[in-house]
Symmetry: C4
Subunit: 382 residues, 4 copies
C-alpha cells in the first residue's frame, strides 16, 4: 500500500510513530501469547498484532535496504552494519522458524529479539561500548577475582556441607550454583550452609561479593567520567566554532569554553527562560531561532546571537520570557563557568556587556536604568 514513495514514507513522522508503536505492541504481545490460559479470540488478536508488527519491521528493512543501495557514495553495506543486522534479526527468525516446522508458540518467542531495536534508538549505547572496551582489562581483572572466590568458596562449601545436605551441596556444580547466588548477593535461599565453618566461609563470600561489586562500579565510574568529558567536547566543538561571537577568542580560550558549554536541544515553541524567574545561565544560539517577548513588540534572535546575559551580569531575575520558534540548539553557559571564564578572559565579559548595551540603544529603550531592574534581556540582532 506504500509502494509509490518509500523514501518519503520512511522519513515521515508517521512512519517513525508506527515503528515505535509496533515495537511497543510487539514487546507487550510476545509475553502475553505465552500465557497458558488464553481463550481463542485473545490468541487470534495477539497473532494479528504480532504479524502486523512483523510487517512493519519488514517494510522498514526493505525500505532501508532499497534507499541505501541507491545512495552511491555510501561504501559500507547497510545489511552488514550493526543496524542492518538488528533489523534482519527482527524480521527473519520468526518466518524461518515457522517454515522449518517449529510450533507457532515457540517460534514467536524469537520476536523477543525486537528488543534489540531499542539499542538503535538510543545513541548513548555506543558510548557505553567504548567505556567497556577501554576498561576491558580492568573489568577482566575484577571478573577473575570473582571467579577465584567463586571456585575456592564452592570447593570449601562442598567439602563442609555435602555430608549434611547432599541434595543442596552434593556435587561441585551445586556448590558453584550456591556460590554464584551468594557472591552476587542475590541470595535465593534455596541452598544455605548449615555448619559453623560453612557459614563463616559464606560470610566471607558475601563480603567479598560487595568488594567485587564495588570494584566493578569503581572501574565503570572512572571510565564513564573520562568518556563523557570526551564526547561532550566533540559535540560542542563544532557548535562553538559556528558562533561567530565565540570563535574569535584565542584557541586556548575556545578549548576552555568548549568544556564549559552544555548543549541543549529544544523543540519548537518551548519556553527557554521565563520572566521573573531567577537566572543562573546565559545561552548562545547554535542553530534555530528564539523569540524574546519584550514590551513594544517581540524580537527574534537567530543563530549566532545570545540571550539571558543580564541575569548573569546583574543577578536580577529574568526580564523577559524567551521561547523557541523552531527546533533550536542552544549552548548553555552557567553562571559558575561564566564567572570562572571571564576571570581569566575578561574580553568575553566586555564583549557581552558591549553588545548588550548596543542592543538596548538600538531597540530604542532610552535608558535602561530609568526602567529599574526590568531590563530587556535581548533585542533584535541584525
Amino acid at each position: 500500500m506504500a509502494k509509490l514513495s518509500p523514501l518519503g514514507l520512511l522519513k515521515s513522522r508517521a512512519f517513525r510513530l508506527l515503528q515505535y508503536l509496533a515495537l511497543a505492541a510487539g514487546l507487550v504481545a510476545v509475553p502475553l501469547i505465552t500465557l497458558p490460559d488464553l481463550d481463542v479470540p485473545a490468541r487470534v488478536l495477539l497473532n494479528i498484532v504480532l504479524w502486523c508488527c512483523l510487517a512493519v519491521f519488514a517494510c522498514e528493512l526493505a525500505g532501508k535496504t532499497w534507499l541505501r543501495s541507491k545512495s552511491v557514495q555510501s561504501e559500507s553495506h547497510y545489511l552488514r552494519s550493526s543496524e542492518g543486522v538488528i533489523d534482519l534479526l527482527a524480521v527473519l527468525p520468526v518466518p524461518l522458524a515457522l517454515l522449518i516446522g517449529i510450533p507457532a508458540s515457540t517460534a514467536w518467542l524469537l520476536a523477543s529479539l525486537w528488543i534489540l531495536k531499542l539499542a538503535i534508538l538510543v545513541p548513548g549505547l555506543s558510548m557505553l561500548g567504548r567505556v567497556i572496551h577501554h576498561e576491558a582489562r580492568a573489568l577482566a581483572s575484577g571478573f577473575i577475582i570473582f571467579l577465584i572466590i567463586l571456585v575456592l568458596a564452592s570447593v570449601a562449601l562442598y567439602l563442609l556441607e555435602r555430608a549434611g545436605q547432599p541434595d543442596k551441596f552434593g556435587s561441585l556444580p551445586l556448590a558453584l550454583w550456591w556460590a554464584v547466588t551468594t557472591l552476587t548477593s542475590t541470595g535465593y535461599g534455596d541452598a544455605i550452609p548449615a555448619t559453623l565453618a560453612g557459614r563463616i566461609i559464606a560470610s566471607i563470600v558475601m563480603i567479598g561479593g560487595l568488594g567485587v561489586f564495588g570494584l566493578w562500579t569503581g572501574i565503570l565510574a572512572t571510565g564513564f567520567a573520562a568518556e563523557y568529558r570526551r564526547r561532550d567536547f566533540i559535540r560542542n566543538w563544532d557548535l562553538v566554532t559556528s558562533v561567530p561571537f565565540l570563535k574569535n577568542l584565542d584557541p586556548p580560550a575556545v578549548i576552555e569554553l568548549t568544556r564549559m558549554l552544555r548543549r541543549v536541544d529544544l523543540a519548537e515553541n518551548t519556553v527557554v527562560v521565563r520572566r521573573g524567574r531567577p537566572g543562573d545561565c546565559m545561552y548562545f544560539i547554535a542553530s534555530g531561532e528564539v523569540e524574546v517577548k519584550v514590551e513594544p513588540h517581540p524580537v527574534r534572535l537567530g543563530a549566532g546571537a545570545f540571550f539571558g546575559e543580564i541575569a548573569l551580569l546583574t543577578g536580577a531575575p529574568r526580564t523577559a520570557t524567551v521561547t523557541t520558534t523552531a527546533a533550536t540548539t542552544l549552548l548553555m553557559l552557567e553562571v559558575t563557568d561564566f564567572r570562572a571564564f571571564t576571570a581569566h578572559h575578561p574580553e568575553l565579559a566586555k564583549a557581552v556587556e558591549a553588545e548588550a548595551a548596543a542592543r538596548r540603544n538600538r531597540s530604542g529603550a532610552p535608558k535602561s536604568h530609568a526602567r529599574g531592574p526590568r531590563l530587556v534581556e535581548n533585542s533584535e540582532k541584525d
Copy 2:
C-alpha cells in the same frame, strides 16, 4: 483559633514545629490505622490524630495561598508551583475520597501522599533532579541494556524451565518476573531455575545485574560530582564578594578562593572553635556575629571579619573559644587550601598576618611573644 494574624502565625517557629509534628504523627498514624486487630478506642484516637494533621495542612495551604495572593510582585501562581501541588495533594484527596463514598479505611491511605512534603523540606532534592536530567541519556542507555538482558534471559529461561516447573516458568510474564528479581539481585527465591543450562544463564544474568548496577552508579557518581561543584560555587560566590577583605583580590584569585571555601551555617550560641583544640581551618564571617572569649574581656566580630588564622599561621592549638551570638554564616578555609592558595597568592597570607598583628596591637596586648603560644586568636574589629 488563629484567624487574627495568619501571616505571623505561618512564619512563627511554633507553626513550623506544628507542621513537623503533624507530618511525623500523620506518617506514623497512617500505617497503624490499617492494622486489622485494632480495638475501637485506638481507632478513634488515630482518626482524631489524622483529622488534626489534615487540619494543620489545610491551614498551611490556606495561609500560603492567601499570603502569596497578597504579594503583588510574585507573578507565578503558588498553587501551580511544585510546592503548591504537593500542599494540595496533602489536603484534598482524603476529603474527596470520603465524599465520593470510598470507605474511610481506604480513603485515609491517600494520606500517605503527605510523605511528599518531605521533598519540600529538603532543598537538595532539586539538585538531584538536575543530575538525573543532565544524565538522562546515559541512564536511559543503562536501562535499555537492563531491558535487553531482561527479555532475552526470560525467553531463555521460559524455554528451558517451562517443562520442569510450569507453575514458576510456565509463561513469559512469569519468566520476566523471575528475571527482574534476579537481575536486581533481590532474589526472592520463589522461582529458581533447576536445569543446568537455566542455572548457567541465571548466573550470567546475576553477573550482568552487577554490571548494570555499577553502570548506573558510575553515571550518577560522575553527574553528582559535577553538579555538587557547580552548586557550591554559586552559593559561595555571593558570600565571598560580601567579605570586603576577599573581594579586593584579583578576579582569578576570587574564583579560586570561591572553589575552596566551604559554607557553614550556625545557630545562635554555637561553639565554633574551642580553646586548646588543634586547629586546621580559619573562618571568614559572611553574616552574623561571633564572640571571642579572650582574657581581659570578650570581643565581638561582625560580618567581614575573620578569625582562627593563628592556628594556620603557627600550627599552635586554638588560643580562644569562639561562639556565635546570632545566627551566623561562616566561610571556612581549610589549612590545605590556605597553604595552596597563599603559595600562588602570597598577598592573602600577608594581609591576614598584617591584620592579625594590627589587631593584637590595638587590643593592647603588649607583646604576643611574651605570653607564649597562647595568642589571642582575634581582637575587636572596628
Copy 3:
C-alpha cells in the same frame, strides 16, 4: 598487680598486646556464651575469659584516667572525650546490669559494646565521619527519595495484595516491611506480590532501589575523594617541610610536591628496595634511618636524605638493597610524579643528580660508568 608503675605498664608493648588479646577473646566469647547447649565447664571457662577481659579494660580505663588527670596542660577531660566514653561503655554496663539483678546471660550481652573499641584503634573512622558530615544534605536527599518510594509502593501493594494474601500484605506495616526488604534488594522472599499489577510495581521498586543505591554510592564516592586529598595533604605537609632538600623549593612547588608524595611508615629491619628489582619510585627520609647494602661497606642514611633516585634517572633496576634500621617514615615519589614535577621544576632533577654524583665521588667510587649499570644507589650523607 600493676600498682607500681601504671604509666610504664600502660605504654608498654605487652599491655597493648594484652588489650588486643582481650578484645579478640571477648568478642569471641560473647557469642559463644549464648549457645543454649553449652556444658557447665565450657560456661565456667567462658565466664572466666569474660571477667578477665573486663578486668583488662577496667585497668586500662583506670590507668588512662589517672594519667590524664596528672597531665595539667590537657584541658579537655578524658572521660568526656569520645575515647573515654567508649572505654566507660566497655567497663560499666555489665557490672551495673548484674547489680540491678539482670540475669548473667543477658547482662554479658552488653559486652558486645566492646566492639566500639575497634573504632578507637582505626584512625580513619574520623575521616569517614567528616565525609558523612559534609555530605549530610545530599545523603538526606537520597534518603527522602528512598522514603517516598517506600511509602507509595507499600500503599500500592497493600491495596493490590491485601485481598489475596492477608497474612503477608494485610496491613500497611506489613507492606512497609515488604517494601524495605525489596527496595534494599535484600529480598527475603517471605512476602511476594502475586497479582500482575503488584509485580509490575514491585519491579519498579527493585529498579528504583538500584537507583537510590547508586545515588548514595555516587555521593559517598565524591565526598570521599575530596576528603582523602585533603587529609593526605595535611599529613604530608609537615613531613615535606622537615626535609631540608625539599623545603628550599619555592612555595608553589612545595604545594605541588606535597600533593604528589605518599607517606610510608615502616618498622625496623624492613626491606625498602631490593637489588635487581625494577624501580619506579624514589624515597625521601622524613624520620628514622636506613642502611644501603653497598659493596665496600654498607652506608647509613638519616632523616633528610634520599635514595632510590638512580632507577628514576636511568631506568636501570635497583642497584642496592635498602633496609630500615629503625622505625622510619619515608616519602615516596613515584616515577610518574617525578617526571611531571621535574618537567615544570627542573631544579629538583638537577639537585638530585648533583647530590647523587657528589655522593658517588665522596664514597670513593672512581667512576660510576666504569662499573656498568650497577651503581651504588646512595652513599653516606654527612
Copy 4:
C-alpha cells in the same frame, strides 16, 4: 616427548594454546567429577583429562624452572616468585594428597587451585593489588563500621526474637548469621525477624548495608582512578620518548601529551582505520609497521611515523584504509586532546601540517586540493 628443545617448546604458540586448553578442560572436569551419578566410562574419561592437565602443568613448571636456572642474570628465584608458587600449587597438592591416602574424589578437589593460574594470565591483577594496598586504611574503616553494625544489630535481634523463634535467633551466633546475610543484602530468607521492633532494626541494618557498600565502592572508585592514571603514564612515557617527532617537544608538553595518548596494541593484518569512515583520532607508531592503501601503490609507515591526521585537520572522513603488517603498538591521540593540546602548543599542529604537506608533495600528488576531499592520509616516509 618434548625433551629435545624445552626452550622452543615452552615459548611456542602451540604450548601456550595447550596451556589454555588444559586450564579450561581442567576447570570444567573438576566440578563434573564430583557429580554423584556419573557412570564408570565418564569417570574414567574425566580422570584421564585431569591427569593430562596435571601433566601439562608439570611440564610447564619443570620447563620454567630449568629455563630460569640457566639465565644467570636473574637473581630472584622463580619458585619463590608469586608465579612460581601458583605453578607449584597447581602441580603438587593433588599427587601429595593421593600419596598420603586421601581418596581420589577428594584429592582432585585440590585441582580447583588451577583457577589461580588465571591471575598470572591477566596483568591487571597487580594493579588491583596496589589499589587495595593504598586504600587499605580506608577499606578497614569501612569494614569496622560493618562489624559494629553487625554485632550491635545481632545482639538486638537476639534479645527481641529469641523468645519467638528459638530455632532462628536462639543464640548470638545464629543472630550474627542473620545479620551477615541481611547487611550484605543477600537475604536468604531462612531467618526473618517477626516482632515489630526486630523488623524496624532489620530495616536500619538493610539501609546501613547499602551505606557500607556505597562507602567501599566510593573508596575503590577513588583509588582506582588514581592508580589508572599512574599506570597509563608509565606505560606511555617510554613509548612517547621513542617517537622522534614527539620527544623534541619541551618537557612540560611531553608530560601533557603522555597523559593524553592512549596505547593500542594490534596484531598483524588488523584494520586500523577504514576509508570513508568518520575519523576522530590520529595515530603515532611506537613500534611495528602499517600499510596505507593509497591509489598508485600502497605505502608503508614504520615506527616514529604518524597517520590519520587529515581527519583531525579537516574533519573529512578517512581517506585511506590502513592495516598493520606486523604486530604494532600505536599511540592514539583523540580529536579532543589534539585540539586541547595544539591550542597551548601550536608547534605540534604546525609540524603535523608541514609533514603531511611534505609527504603529499613527495608522493607525487600534484595538488591535494585538486582531488577534492579525498586526500591521501599518509604517504611513504623515508
